[in-house]
Symmetry: none
DNA sequence: AATGAATGAGCCTTCATTCAT
DNA sequence: TATGAATGAAGGCTCATTCAT
């Protein structure tokens, strides 16, 4: 249904600008050029619409690295670098809306759920990548390491993307890469 | 004025439980045992009250480490460990309300401001600490390193505190300490 | 058209459960397995459907006693008893829906009309029965007597059927029969 | 609070005319010359308002006969007559609204409750009256007799008051009195 | 004859805020 | 200073009804 998509588009637009709480169902419907009745025929309520939106975003943003496509002999530092860049790219899609997601997920477990699932998926994915380098890793607890790096990268990228406070983005990425590589591997260049 | 404090207490209590948006001014006044008129004589509006609340919290939570009180020959790993613990302790104070802060600060720059200032302060503070160890540091960009570590620690502590998802808290802290120490210093014990 | 009947059946089912006001046209159509468009092609609106439903019910429920079939020498008390039982039986058909009718007929004269007609018919019928016993009756105003008895029996049966409040049904029927018989006839057995 | 009373008055006026379902909270507030906010500060919702209205009405209408005030040697027929007249008078107060009560009480047990209580009270009251004449009564089951008469009188009065269908009110009352007196007492004049 | 997506008036309710006392 | 009754804009949501297909 294209109407449904129109509603979703309008919702992302408005919520990105004003936030979830300040965007009313009626406003979304109007922005979408659709009646409020139509709105409620496609979505049980505003919450449900929001959840779909989040799920959609994560559908697009997930799987930061496709392992299969990596050259076999790629240096580890490049992988880490690549990973960070991918997270950055993910944050560039619907930036403002993703910021709203971050905010709301803090506010109710109901909203949190989808994000949690997403993060679990990503942790798993990254664990797999690290598993490839098991020999060279300093730590044996790959899951914890994955979680740590994921949280770290997400936080830094999030902060730089949303709260840009005069930091040198390039410099931060380099340092972040250093930190992760040194943490993970014995011999660092 | 003690009435003002009563209102603040009530607000923290209610917002911690229900969140900012679901807590109404009238409810706060009632919980505080004060008339709604009194509420508005002390605070321009709900937003203003909230801002004061946040400022109060950060007043209490700031200054994670008092450098002066550290023994001169303390190992670097212990300092990092200490720092992380302090951040944890900070999160234990009005936990639920701080979570609300984290959420709202994402939502409007107006709310964000106070937090930004707070973070800048902390970065400065941590830079000073690192300055003491300049010789032994791998990086020369102390400000970026400070920022990086700050962001990382905050994020991990926040996530563990609020989104406990079956992670091993102890293990995470150890790994986190490792990561930071290895990142900062050449020869690690 | 069988579709029309399906709609009627669904309507009775739903209105019996939820009442007229809480049952929406869309819901009826869905329950009937028919589109809302079809619904409106058979019935001008919900009201019209309801009226047909009531008319149907009264068509089934009317004519409590078929005079022709009574034995000539049946005792009057038996006739009264028979009448009461018949009214009871009438109430057992689509019980919940009839309760709804009783309720709605109170609410608008438009709804009331059909029921009024029904009652007039019944009064006439009962007058005829009483006419057979004119000699033995205490009253000469047969119409008023008929109306009185009809109203009384309906009310008692209705109350017992719908508002059962710990009353002894059997006892009430016996007393009711007594009351009517004594009222009507001089010498009672 | 006079505002509360204004709201109640407006509600009775409007619900009498249009019925409960077709009368909206906003309309009541407007009719009462009061803001919708005020409406909701006095009543949790429309239902609650309605319940208060019913309770008020029954408060006024209850206790059809004050036993104490009857002359000791009053003939039984006069008592019955008096009772019927009192019920009539009760029905004359807020007639249309009482009709609405009758309708709604049929529709949900929640609404029914208050009316049930009312009826139980009345039955008890009438039992007491009958108890005074125990010697002369034909029946020993005074409660059932009370219930029967109450239901009968209510139904007839209700029907005559609300559904006046060209009946001779005076004649009906006389016949009704006859019926009850003959039912209750052995020797009737 | 049948469909069902679409409509939008209108209902119920909340809550930040004011102001006369 | 303090009170709290009063306000009314605004939001979420339902449902009878229409109409293009």
């Amino acid at each position: 249904m294209e109407k449904k998509q129109k509603i979703k588009d309008a919702a992302i637009r408005l919520m990105s600008e004003q936030g979830y709480h300040k965007t009313s169902s009626n406003e979304i419907a109007k922005e979408a050029g659709v009646s409020i009745g139509t709105f409620y025929s496609y979505f049980k309520d505003k919450k449900e619409l929001y959840k779909e939106l989040v799920a959609d975003i994560y559908g697009v943003v997930t799987s930061p690295i496709d392992l299969e496509e990596l050259p076999a002999d790629i240096p580890v530092r490049d992988i880490v670098h690549l990973y960070i860049s991918t997270v950055f790219r993910g944050h560039e899609y619907e930036t403002a809306f993703q910021r709203e997601i971050a905010s709301l997920s803090e506010q109710s477990d109901e909203f949190r759920e989808i994000e949690m699932q997403h993060k679990t998926n990503l942790t798993q994915l990254f664990s797999n990548i690290l598993g490839q380098y098991r020999e060279e890793l300093r730590t044996e607890d790959i899951r914890t390491a994955s979680y740590l790096i994921l949280t770290t990268v997400e936080a830094v990228v999030h902060d730089i993307t949303f709260h840009k406070g005069g930091k040198n983005k390039k410099a931060v990425i380099e340092e972040l890469t250093d930190m992760i590589v040194r943490y993970l591997f014995r011999e660092t260049v």
